[in-house]
Amino acid sequence: MRPLPLLTALALLVAAQPAAAQVILSRVRDLNFGAVIRGIATHVDPSDPVKSGAFQLTTANGSKVRVQFTLPSLLNGPAGATMPISFNASDAIASGVAPPSQPTSFDPGVAQTFTVVTTPTLIFIGGTVTPAAGQALGTYTNTITLTITLL
C-alpha cells in the first residue's frame, strides 16, 4: 500500500516532461572540386548544383536551430601531401525546399542561428582549394562536419 503513491508520483513526473522535438540531419552529397590544376586555385560555389556539398535538415517548422560547421584547413593526399582548403563568408547557403523560404547565404566558419520556415531545409557548402605549383598529383580528401542544435 505504501509504495503505490511513490510510483504514482514518479509516473506523473515523467509524464509532465514535454515531448522532445525531432532533428534529422542527413548527407545529400559530398563537396567535390573534381579535377584541379597545379598552381591554380579552384572555387566551388555553394550554389553549384553538382559540386557543392549538401546536407538535409528535417525538423518542425518554426524550430530555432544553431548551425555550426567544423571545417578542415587542409585536404590530405598521397604520401602525406596536403593541400589548403578555405571557406569565405558566402560559401554556405541555407534554403528550404518550399515557399516562403528564401535562400540565405552565410559564413560557414561562424555558428549561425536560424528559424526553420519550411522543412526540410537544405544546407549547401562550397569552398576553395589552392594547389601549389608543385602540388603532388592525386586525390585529396577531408571531412566536413555539420552540427545542428535545436534551441
Binding site: L10, A20, F33, I148
Partner: protein, 164 residues
C-alpha cells in the same frame, strides 16, 4: 524520516528528467579534389584549303593533306571535353569567304584515318577516358562566291579542352 528520504529522491529524479536538453545532431560529408597535370594544346597543323575557284566549293576532310590538327597532352585516364570557337568567314581586307560544315575526328595516335568522328561545336564534345595524348583533326568547306575577290583569306579556329 522515511517519507523525507523518498521525497528527496523524487525531487532529484524530477530535476534530472526536467532539464531541457538542447538536441543536437551531427552529420559529415567529404571534401574531395583531384590534382591533375595541366592540359596543353598545341597547333599540330593549320587547316589549309590551298587554291579555291570562285563559285566552286572546296572541302577539306579530316583525312586530307590540308586538314587541321591540334595536339593535346593531359593526365592519363581522365575525361575531357572539347569545345570550339569557329569562324563563319575567312577574311582578307574587308572581304569574306564563308566557311562551314565543320568535321572533326579525335584519336590517341596521329592517324586521322582511324579517328573517331565528331562535329566540332561550341557546345562541347565529351571524350571517354583515354591516355595522355590526344590528336584532334578538323576539316571544313569554304564557299567562294562567283565574284569572290582574289586573295589569301584566313581565320582562327580555337579549341578548348577541359577536364570533366
Amino acid at each position: 524520516m522515511r517519507t523525507t528520504k523518498v521525497l528527496s529522491a523524487l525531487v532529484a529524479l524530477g530535476l534530472s528528467l526536467g532539464v531541457a536538453s538542447a538536441q543536437a545532431q551531427s552529420g559529415t560529408i567529404t571534401a574531395t579534389a583531384t590534382v591533375l597535370s595541366a592540359i596543353t594544346v598545341a597547333n599540330g597543323a593549320n587547316l589549309v584549303f590551298g587554291n579555291v575557284t570562285p563559285g566552286v566549293n572546296k572541302t577539306i576532310a579530316i583525312t586530307d593533306a590540308g586538314a587541321g590538327r591540334f595536339d593535346v597532352t593531359k593526365a592519363a585516364a581522365t575525361l575531357v571535353q572539347l569545345s570550339f570557337t569557329l569562324p563563319t568567314n575567312l577574311v582578307t581586307g574587308g572581304n569574306n569567304l564563308p566557311i562551314a560544315t565543320w568535321t572533326g575526328g579525335w584519336n590517341t595516335v596521329n592517324n586521322a584515318g582511324t579517328a573517331t568522328a565528331f562535329t566540332p561545336s561550341a557546345g562541347g564534345t565529351s571524350l571517354p577516358s583515354i591516355g595522355a595524348n590526344l590528336f584532334v583533326f578538323v576539316g571544313a568547306t569554304v564557299s567562294p562566291a562567283a565574284a569572290q575577290v582574289a586573295g589569301t583569306y584566313t581565320g582562327n579556329v580555337t579549341m578548348q579542352v577541359v577536364y570533366l
